[in-house]
Symmetry: C2
Subunit: 453 residues, 2 copies
């Protein structure tokens, strides 16, 4: 019956120390969400496949984890599909539910289902795991947490400013230096328009996005290859080499996009968001980056991406505005804007820079060594008094070797070890040893309480 256990590839166990670090991350983000008036919701891990399918592209559909129906799941399976091993078309016959792939689609579904109970604008946050049947690799998991905050039902750009403020506050608290990159989908549309290639917006933005990686020349070559005229590529150059302050970039954009209504709208939005964000005196750098082209399938206005300055890792937070979140579920015209913190990458950054506050990893404050039944009973009384005063305390449950008990205290990163032996029993005292300094004092229980409270 014995078997060597393992866990599915791409998934992880989290040990107490890892959990302490993760809780620090989640709690910090939560505190900021609450400070800004966002409210938490949760949705089920499983959604109907009809809710999930078709929302993430063909590739996304494949990456959904699908649940086998309960009982005789083959009862609606057509014989010929089975015969022909038609595993693709068989899926809806044998599976009705899947694990959520992100928090956005479940949120859209939530908004539509509960529209009559929701007071808009609805500022919600959600911190839950999502699952993707991706090929696991370093830093990419099949189960990972997303931390999303969105506002739906308000077109105001003040929401964008608030989100930038929230991003800045979170990373200030973490002590991570960041660049908050901002762009606007309308500017990208404007660019495609003024260079006379409005149908090539995706190709253009994909290429722009690669400048840092492959360089200007290769980008130009790729654009020509994609069917852009030499004139169009020439017209694009000032945009590809845009530099200077945000103000300077905006000025250049204003000139270049003057003939495009949508482009100028984008410039105006960018100007508002950038200037008001800067007015908040953020700790991070807020930077207009016209090469930022993430989420082009769904973002319709502001696009946001955050990078850590001191660690070479991809985007650690991202977001943007989408104009029709809930349309696919029959509720058109609801605009939303949101951000998503990448908890796993933030975890990696905090580990690399060793930025965890010391008390993050603290656990029990005092461990009482167990010297036997009588001493143990007395120690348990003390432990209860400490707890009644809000001090995390415990007693080693077995009266085993001192060495084993001390090694337990060490491993658990306990701050103090308390010893109540024969002498202390007689004196009514406790020998309290500080694990960091090694100092030891003889104190009454009340003295211990005032010392540690």
């Amino acid at each position: 019956m014995a078997q060597k256990p393992s866990i599915p590839k791409g998934t992880r166990d989290f040990s107490p120390i890892e959990m302490a670090k993760r809780n620090y991350i989640f709690n910090t983000i939560k505190e900021v969400f609450l400070l800004y008036g966002f409210q938490q919701i949760e949705t089920p891990a499983m959604e109907n496949l009809s809710t999930l399918m078709g929302k993430y592209g063909e590739e996304g559909d494949k990456l959904l984890f699908k649940m086998l129906n309960s009982g005789d799941y083959l009862k609606n399976a057509p014989a010929e599909m089975l015969e022909q091993h038609d595993y693709i078309h068989l899926i809806p016959k044998i599976s009705e539910k899947g694990l959520r792939y992100d928090l956005t689609v479940p949120f859209a579904r939530y908004v539509v289902m509960h529209r009559n109970d929701i007071q808009f604008p609805f500022k919600r946050y959600q911190i839950q795991p999502v699952w993707r049947a991706d090929r696991p690799q370093k830093g990419r998991y099949r189960e990972f947490y997303q931390c999303d905050a969105d506002v739906v039902g308000s077109d105001s750009l003040m929401n964008e400013i608030e989100l930038v403020g929230m991003i800045d506050e979170v990373f200030k608290r973490f002590g991570i230096n960041v660049i908050i990159k901002i762009n606007n989908r309308k500017v990208l549309s404007g660019i495609a328009e003024v260079i006379g290639a409005p149908d090539k917006i995706v190709d253009i933005t994909v290429a722009i996005d690669k400048i840092d990686k492959i360089g200007l020349e290769n980008v130009n070559a790729e654009l020509l290859e994609k069917g852009l005229s030499q004139d169009a590529v020439d017209a694009l150059q000032p945009l590809l080499t845009l530099s200077g302050s945000n103000e300077e970039k905006l000025a250049t954009l204003s000139t270049l996009l003057a003939s495009s209504e949508v482009g100028m709208k984008g410039v105006e939005e960018l100007r508002y968001v950038l200037s008001n964000s800067e007015a908040q005196q953020p700790k991070g750098v807020v930077e207009l980056d016209v090469s930022l082209a993430r989420g082009l399938n769904y973002y319709t206005g502001t696009i946001i991406e955050v990078k850590a300055k001191d660690v070479a890792i991809g985007s650690i937070t991202g977001g943007g505005r989408y104009d029709n979140l809930t349309g696919v579920f029959g509720m058109p015209g609801t605009s939303g804007v949101g951000i998503s913190f990448g908890a796993d990458r933030i975890y990696d950054v905090l580990n690399t820079l060793e930025l965890y506050p010391k008390d993050t990893l603290a656990s029990t404050k005092v461990l009482f060594v167990n010297f036997g039944e009588k001493e143990g009973a007395q120690s348990l009384q003390y432990v209860m008094k400490l707890r009644a005063n809000g001090i995390p305390a415990e007693i080693y449950p077995d009266s085993t070797k001192m060495k084993k008990q001390m090694s337990y205290a060490n491993d658990k990163n306990v701050a103090y070890v308390a010893m109540v032996g024969e002498t202390e029993m007689a004196n009514g005292t406790i020998a309290l040893k500080c694990m960091e300094t090694g100092e030891q004092e003889n104190l009454t229980i009340n003295e211990v309480i005032s010392k540690l409270k």
Copy 2:
């Protein structure tokens, strides 16, 4: 493309108010766990089916949610199984992973996998959802949270006392009056032994468990039906009608079980756990209940069950000692003892008795009404100052009708509404309205901060 969205039956969305209540429950339990020196771990939602199957009985295997393999899941499916619709034997061919059914088996798997990194005794807690393909009904869900605390690697009965103390502390904090029922599996074994029916222990305990529901006579009839002799049933009577104080019950048990070694061991353990638990002066009633026979498949010593005194609902917490948690994964001889809080039932009890502290449902402290761009910009400055002082504050993002903004404030249960109109702009003040009393004051931002901090 539009579709009316729904969620899988037996699953739930949690709104901001529901989340506030649930967070209150989880946070209260967590605080007590930490106070007692328990450390958090998390395990993946998905486990290999080889880890889960065979651990919950035949019925449990059926109730596991199983994930369809990625890609061509039919590639290892034997043609004849497909032809014969042999959906049972086909499962392992097309599915390798399932959702966890409880937190105990994943914990056992965790302990075995990480045995070299764990310092025993290991006091872990885990608060995560579990999934069961049960028929949904009132109060029974397909996705629900378990809150487990276990100690593994220590035989000491001090752990039992600590767990009882922890249970009592949790329900004291909730304000729920409870009866903490305690039994011992060894006593049940002893009973079966002394009435000469050691092979009938399951039948006997199942019957004993029904006394409250069907009455003594029917229980006796059932026992005879199950093949117990009339002598055995007669011998059982004093146990079935056991009454009096814990001390009196223990005395009766001692007499009745005198000839059974295992029975007397059970009595001794019970006496220790009961007397030491009572010595802690619990708020709840700690009661020996020999009819308590839960989890007989795995519990080997102490059995614990908690009922709410003032609400007719099943067990709201349960637990016990199991001697061989990890044996099935090739690591025999590791004793454990643990408890599991039923968050969903506690939620129902707290709702029924309306026991939530008032500030549980508080959200944003101050909402600034938005009177337009200029006033909005000034208000945003104030909002930022409040947040810098740790006061949750927000501004309504759109300068829309006052009525809509007030209705938003009401719905969100905001404590204060702040108004900065033309007059206030000129005076450098804020009109602060308390939503509960309706009182309104004109204050400077610093006065608002000291008032609300």
